[in-house]
């Protein structure tokens, strides 16, 4: 029997379904590879449920990282395209978290607005923040703003910009430009980096540097891992920090040494 399954182009292929330990097509919780065009919005909503709201006392909107989507969909280019479409429609906002130039955080605009205004309630900066959310966000889907743009295009004064930075909606990028950011997200970033290091450490310490995905999800987490285990697993798969190998007992995650 021909043990190596040769790859056939569409013209010559007779479609054969592969049956493995995790083959529940269409169910984002189990399926790693989905047939048909990827539904990025549904996957985003599923990933948002993994975000722990109680941990931050409900002050943060639900944050998902863009590369977590790559762990659930095989075609990265289509995922990127759909994310950009959602951003252009104004439903999704993208942020640069600051620890890696390639990592982007995604938040639904509705959630973001609600949490920011809730956080600003009763403070003096409420008015400026509202003005910023109403004027700038709907029309401009940039990740960062320069001083020129803020002063001339959106007609903010220097004092108002200082207020926006104080409230956490803008963070300093370099002299004269700012990143769009999520207020109070510093704790999230800290827990995220800590948790990622701890989960990768778990994979590295296993025998042969590899562990079954189901085993990893069931491991007892130390106090360093504050976010949901599945959240971190999607993150390390999507960022290609571990290699995903299909075996007869399920998906195996092997640490990638770089």
């Amino acid at each position: 029997m021909n043990r190596k399954r040769t790859l056939m182009p569409d013209a010559f292929r007779t479609k054969k379904r592969r049956f493995g330990a995790d083959n529940l097509i269409g169910n984002p919780e189990h399926g790693d590879v989905q047939e048909g065009p990827p539904d990025v919005k549904a996957t985003l909503q599923y990933l948002m449920t993994l975000f722990p709201r109680k941990l931050f006392n409900d002050s943060l909107p639900q944050i998902v990282l863009k590369h977590q989507l790559y762990s659930l969909h095989s075609d990265k280019t289509l995922v990127d395209k759909q994310v950009n479409e959602l951003r252009d429609q104004g439903e999704l906002l993208m942020f640069q978290l600051g620890f890696d130039s390639d990592t982007f955080a995604l938040v639904f605009s509705v959630d973001y607005r609600a949490k920011v205004l809730a956080g600003e309630a009763g403070r003096a900066t409420l008015g400026t923040v509202e003005k910023f959310l109403d004027k700038v966000l709907p029309c401009c889907s940039d990740l960062s703003f320069s001083k020129d743009k803020m002063l001339k295009q959106f007609l903010f004064t220097d004092a108002e910009i200082t207020q926006l930075v104080k409230s956490g909606v803008l963070t300093v990028r370099d002299a004269g430009s700012w990143w769009l950011s999520i207020p109070n997200s510093g704790r999230f970033t800290k827990y995220f980096i800590q948790g990622r290091k701890a989960v990768l450490g778990m994979v590295k310490k296993s025998k042969y540097n590899e562990i079954l995905k189901t085993d990893l999800e069931e491991r007892r987490t130390t106090s360093h891992v504050k976010l949901h285990m599945k959240y971190h697993v999607h993150d390390i798969i999507g960022a290609e920090l571990v290699e995903c190998i299909q075996t007869t007992s399920g998906t195996l995650l092997r640490f990638v040494d770089t």
């Binding site: 075609d75 990127d80 990740l143 960062s144 290609e240 770089t258």
Partner: protein, 385 residues
């Protein structure tokens, strides 16, 4: 397959469609074949391979020991098991051999009477294949990382050379002069490639993270620089504005029709650009491991639809769909890092060379009837009786 043949016969399909479908099927079934071998001459790693375009018969390889070997790829023995023999070698005993590692070799695009090699001994030599003596030696001030001659040029005989110097030098084969330089880069030039569509368009990649596209007839600087964010200045941190990659750019490859340009960088990314406008097509190939301090030589398939990119990734060659970005397969077989790979368009074969001193030939698997099919054929015959 039969439907393609009948469609071609009756005129329903264009003839090229069958050819493309069969080429694609063959490329998707590339495998190491124990019947095909390339003679092992190099004592040290192989840095570069080039197959001549006229007949597709002779292959040049350059190694880290300065040795250059010419192989005959054609199978003249009647047996299926064939070792590609070395026709001639510029070995360590030759008076004119390069002193240090040979980084790039290329056949003269119009015939096999001449080839050009450039090396870390700061020289580029133009060799006469018959006598294996250099007809011309160009001396440079820094290590020569790469050179390229335009495959379609009729009006000029320029060789673009990328060295440690940020200035790209153009050497003229017809007159021997090298006064034409292209200024604009701020770091070492790791890779240069002429466009296979327009004979005056040149792309260069450098350690300053920028890729520049030049028209050599123009007196002022480059035509444009490739920007990974497509002009969206807000996306990047301020240092990476207007750069093609977030690290050194060390690989360049045009597609066969010259419409797209692929670049690979040490930020572990590969990007596909529209070569006319310089726009990033945003095809996401994922993490393409790239740790090379010198240039990475990768290649694109020809004559298939869809096209595939073959990139050396560690000790294997990764095959990606060109426009979809999905990883099709990893070709494993080398014992050490792979440095270069080259596609043979007529037979849809891939040759790859690496630090383990081997050149491996990846050959499409022939159609064999499966055991199930044989059983079915048997049953069919029995029924007919």
């Amino acid at each position: 397959m039969l439907s393609f043949l009948i469609a071609r016969q009756t005129g329903v399909d264009e003839p090229v469609r069958l050819r493309r479908a069969e080429s694609t099927r063959r490329v998707l079934s590339l495998e190491l074949n124990h019947d095909r071998d390339v003679e092992c001459i190099h004592g040290n790693g192989i840095n570069t391979i080039d197959i001549e375009v006229i007949e597709g018969r002779y292959m040049l390889s350059g190694g880290s020991d300065g040795v250059i070997v010419i192989y005959d790829l054609e199978n003249n023995s009647k047996k299926p098991h064939y070792t590609c023999k070395a026709v001639c070698t510029v070995g360590r005993s030759s008076r004119y051999v390069h002193k240090f590692s040979v980084e790039t070799v290329q056949w003269y695009p119009h015939d096999t009477g001449m080839f050009v090699s450039s090396s870390f001994d700061k020289t580029m030599k133009v060799w006469d294949t018959e006598t294996l003596k250099p007809a011309e030696v160009f001396q440079f001030e820094g290590n020569v990382y790469c050179h390229h001659m335009s495959p379609i040029a009729r009006k000029h005989g320029l060789i673009a050379v990328g060295t440690k110097d940020p200035k790209v030098q153009l050497c003229d084969l017809k007159s021997g002069s090298r006064i034409h330089i292209l200024q604009g880069h701020r770091g070492e030039v790791l890779s240069v490639k002429w466009s296979p569509r327009y004979e005056h368009i040149l792309a260069t990649a450098s350690t300053d993270s920028r890729v520049r596209v030049w028209d050599v007839r123009r007196a002022s600087g480059s035509l444009f620089t490739l920007d990974q964010h497509n002009g969206d200045k807000s996306k990047a941190s301020s240092e990476s504005v207007n750069t093609a990659h977030d690290g050194r750019v060390n690989g360049l490859c045009f597609t066969d029709d010259g419409l797209y340009l692929l670049t690979a960088g040490t930020d572990d990314r590969m990007r596909l650009w529209n070569s006319a406008t310089g726009e990033n097509t945003l095809v996401n190939y994922g993490k393409v491991v790239n740790e090379s301090r010198k240039g990475v030589k990768f290649t694109v398939s020809r004559g298939c639809s869809p096209e595939f990119v073959f990139v050396p990734c560690g000790s294997s060659v990764a095959m990606y769909g060109l426009h979809t970005g999905e990883l099709v397969t990893m070709l494993r077989g080398h014992y050490n890092n792979v440095d270069c790979c080259e596609f043979h368009p007529d037979y849809q074969e891939l040759y790859s060379g690496g630090k383990d001193c081997n050149i491996l030939a990846w050959v499409p698997v022939l159609r064999h009837p499966d055991t199930e099919d044989e059983g079915a054929a048997f049953a069919f015959e029995w029924l007919l009786k």
